[in-house]
Every structure is written in C-alpha cells, then in structure tokens.
Amino acid sequence: MGFGRYVLQRLLLVIPTLFGVTLIAFTLTYLLPGNPALVKAGALATPEHVAEIERRMGLDRPVPVQYWRYVTGLLRGDLGESSSTGRPVLEDFRQRIPATLELTLASLIVAVAIGIPFGVLSAVHRDTVLDHLSRLLGVGGVAMPSFWTGLLLLYVFFYLLGVAPAPLGRIAADVTPPTRILGLYVVDALLTANGTALVSSLHHLMLPALTLGFAVMAPLTRMVRATMLEILESDYVTAAWAAGLPRRRVIYGDALRNALIPVITLLGVIFGFLMAGNVVVEMVFAWPGLGHYAVTSLMTKDPGPIQSFVLFVAVMYVLVNLGVDLLYGLADPRIRLR
C-alpha cells in the first residue's frame, strides 16, 4: 500500500471518531439533568419563563434536530455563550489559547530536554546510580499528582528561597505585557526586544512549566530507556561495535536515531497528559489559560465553557493522534502495510 492510500484511509477514520466525539459532547451538554435553559433563566425564574427560553434555544425540538443544530453551529464556530463573561465562548477562548499554548510548549521543552537525555544515559549506564535514579523518577513521577508537585515547588522556590514570583499569572503586575504578535509573552517579548517583559514572563513561566514538564517526563524517560536498551542489544549495534566504530557515534548516532522513532507514538499520550495537567497546573498558578477559564466558570455555575473546552481538547486530541499516525507511517514503512 502506498503512503497516499494510507493517508486517505487514516483520514477517513477520523470522520466516525469526530461523529462520536460530538455525540458525547452533545449528550453531556444538552441531555443531562443540568438543563441549560434552567441555568440561563436563573434560580428565580418561573416555569413559563424557563419554557420560553427552552423554546428560544430549540430545546423543545426532537433530539436529532437539536444535534443537527449543535453540529452546524460548531462548524460555524458557535461554541455557545458564557453566562459569566456574557461573551461568546469562542472569543473568550481566542483570548486564552496563547496562555495555554505557551505553558504547554514550555513544559514540552522541559520534558524533552530533561527526559530524553536522562533516558538515554540511564540505558547506556545501566544499573548505575544514575539508572536507579531515573527509574525511581519514572515510577515516582507518574504517582505524584501535579497540583502537589506545583505546590511543593511553590513552597520551596517562592516561600523558602524567594526566587520565584507569587503564583499570580503570566507576568508581574507592574510590567506591561509585550505588544501582542502571537500572544505568547516570551516570544512576543523577544520579537519586540522588550527585555523587562521577557525577564518577567520567563520568571512567571518557570515553575508552572517545571511542574507540568515533570509530570510528562516520566513516561518519556521510561520509553526512551526501554527502546534504547533494546536497540543497544540488537545485531546492527553489535556489528557497529565489531566494526570498531567510535562509541560516541554508535550510541548517539545510530542507536539514538532509531530509539526516537517509537517516541513519536508517545506524543499522543503526552498531549493528553499535558491537557489534563494544564487544567490543574493553571489552577495552582492562576495561569489565565483555557483550563483556568473552564474551571472558574464552572464555579460560577456556568457549564458552557467547560463543555466547549472538553470538545476543543477532544478535537485537538483526535488531530494530534492523526498526526502521530501519519508521522509514524512516514518514519516506519512497516506500519503502512498492516
């Protein structure tokens, strides 16, 4: 099977999945007890008033019709309205996506920069202190709730050492955010050569990124270590040793390159981890991203944003997994033949 046909087949599989995702999201939003009309009408509304709102929102129509209107609405970018901010959810989302994206990317960098070398070194120096440490982090890292890691880091670096800022958002209150280009403060500050904003935003990003990065690091290190061990014992590496190739080149050239291919499959899992972790970490550091928005609107009895957030994350998750499969098919031709 050619790569083109593989891509087509994989793309077609996305359709039923997205159908299922919207069906679940629709069920959660409209069919469950928390009637959106009741929420919108408020606690003191009369039954007539609720019925009126129900009619206006189309909630008295047959379920398939409601679902159809829901999906066509989504395609037009209609994610509903937030009763706490009084604005379309999509607009609130646009404002907050950069914060979440910045945190996610920074955590990913932390996880990759520490996790992959750690996994490689741990495999190369098997059964040394370093290896034991990395395996301890591997099992311990997945057992630590990220809100706890974040709070402990805060205690040490903010309260005890005083080197981290208070957990109050992305930038110090007395620093003006950099001119918006991408919305990522660090990148924007760099592009506009705004030194004060750059320092302040990096300072605020430090602990949240470390917290979230740590949560994602464990599975990454574990996988790199396992594949690296497998590859170091394979025939072609033995052949490379026998041919007298330099150690550095065998380990970091041939072996590492092949060990990184399976890591691609982990990207989907990591994305899921990051999204779940985002919600919690954003709450700990009052990071004004999507997770923070969804949870705080829930506290004010506004379920709209949280359901849109879930749908948004699920669609992103489906796309990331699609990308992972395609990349993997490109990197490893055997996959396409299945």
Partner: protein, 277 residues
C-alpha cells in the same frame, strides 16, 4: 541478577504492605484516628507538626492526621467502586464484541473509540460537571472513562481463545454461547484483567484527587486527599507547608504502591507484556 529480583520482590512486598496499611487505617478510621476529623480545636488553629497534632492542624484547628486517615476512606472507596464497575461493564462488552463479532463488535468498538478520543481526565471532568457534584457521580465518571481499557483487553483475548480447541469442544457438547463465554473463556482472561485493574486503581485515585482539587466531586466538610490539598493550597505561600505536604504524600504513596504491585503482577501473571511499559 538474583539479588536484583530479590530487591524487586522486596519492593513490591513493601508496596503490598502500604496498600494493606492504607486499607486497614481507612476501614478502622473512627478507631485509629486520634481525633474527630471534623472537630475543631480552637486553641490550635494552623498549628504546625507537634506531639499533640502529629501532622499539624488546619485553619479551623482540625487535626490533619485524623482528616488524612478519614480521607483515605473516600479515595479508596471511589477508586474501588469505579474500578469494579468499569471491570464488569468493560469485560461484558468486550466479551460480547469479541465472541459475537459482526455488528455487535462494530457498535461496541466504535463507541469505545469515541470515549478514547477524549483524554481520560478531561472526559471525567466533563461528566462530573454535567451530572453534578456527588460521590456517586465521580464514581460513574471514572468508571466510564475506564471501560475502554477492559473492553479492548477482553475483546482481544476473546478473539484469541474462541478459536481454541477447548472452546470448540465446549460448543460441540451443546453449551449455550453465554455459558461458553462465562464458564469456559472468561476465566482464562483473568490474569491480564487483574493486572489492569491494579494499575487502574492508581490512576483512579489520582483522578478523584485531581477532580476534587479543582472543586468537582467531593465537597467539604467531607475530607478527601485532593480536596484537603486544595484547602491547604492558599497557605503554601505563607509557609503552612503541612496542609499540603501530607495529603499529597498520601496520594503519592498509595498510587505508587498500586503501580508497583501492578507492575510486579504483570511480570508474574502475564509474561507476554513484560517490559511493555
């Protein structure tokens, strides 16, 4: 090599002891806990670690040790119920799909795919938000997100065992399909199920704690590890570390114990999956 296997067993033995200890203290909480978890001590509000209150007290002067012990009841109960429900439901669906095949298989597997299209925690969050905050709803949310694990596992096993000779033999002597599945095939799928369920317990505890931390699920004054950490979160910046350290540590210790036991069980019961994770 032998020495390493020994430490490994010693490690999992330790983990097993932790699970046992946490379970026992939770079961016997009213007798083991030094104080009533909801009873404030006006003379010792926000008191640090001391002989009188080994894990300190919170802002109302409630004893942290007693609260951590009582909290374990909720965390373990929710995780256990969710795992039991997911295991039963997931296995039934997986067995049906794998044994019947055809449209049943298609329907079940496509539904499972849709559930798996959501990151588990995010879906659990949405379900609890939609159903409303209560212990039962948290159980339901976690159970639903865990069903796919067992469905896929059992379906795969069913596809394998339904073609075996003993399954053929059971059919030939005139057993009904549900008898074959229930009495002849499912018992052979138990080992991987046990492994998955143990690992899922750890994940379930993390989920309950995280849900309560963000204010979904278990509500005060009922103590729960994640919710206790959330209550203590505001005090970390003013130096009251014990409010966060101990409940979080309880979560980590319990989850770690379940993961270690699960890993060891996998090596013992299911050699095919050795080294997968």
């Amino acid at each position: 090599m032998r020495w390493r296997r020994l430490t490994r067993n010693r490690l999992s033995f330790g983990a097993l002891c932790v699970i046992l200890a946490v379970t026992l203290t939770s079961l016997l909480a009213p007798w083991v806990a030094p104080y009533d978890p909801d009873n404030p001590d006006a003379e010792a509000t926000l008191a640090s670690v001391s002989m009188r209150h080994p894990l300190g007290t919170d802002v109302y002067g409630r004893d942290q040790l007693s609260r951590v012990i009582h909290a374990g009841r909720i965390d373990l109960l929710v995780a256990l119920c969710a795992t039991a429900i997911a295991l039963t439901l997931g296995s039934a669906l997986g067995a049906g799909a794998g044994y019947r095949g055809g449209w049943v298989d298609q329907l079940v597997m496509r539904s499972v795919d849709a559930i798996m299209a959501f990151p588990a925690f995010i879906l659990a969050m949405a379900i609890t938000a939609a159903l409303g905050n209560s212990i039962a709803n948290v159980v339901a949310a976690i159970a639903i997100t865990h069903v796919p694990i067992y469905t896929r596992l059992i379906r795969g096993e069913m596809l394998r065992v339904r073609e075996t000779e003993y399954a053929e033999a059971a059919r030939t002597v005139g057993n009904r399909p549900h008898q074959i599945v229930l009495y002849h095939l499912l018992p052979n799928c138990v080992p991987p199920l046990v492994v998955q369920a143990t690992l899922a317990m750890g994940f379930a505890i993390l989920t309950v704690a995280a849900l309560s931390f963000i204010g979904l699920g278990i509500h005060p004054p009922q103590s729960e590890w994640g919710q206790m950490t959330a209550e203590g979160a505001g005090y970390v910046v003013s130096g009251e570390w014990w409010l966060v350290l101990f409940p979080g540590f309880a979560i980590m210790l319990t989850v770690l114990a379940f993961n270690l036991v699960g890993d060891t069980l996998r090596d013992l019961l299911d050699p095919r999956m050795r080294g997968v994770r």
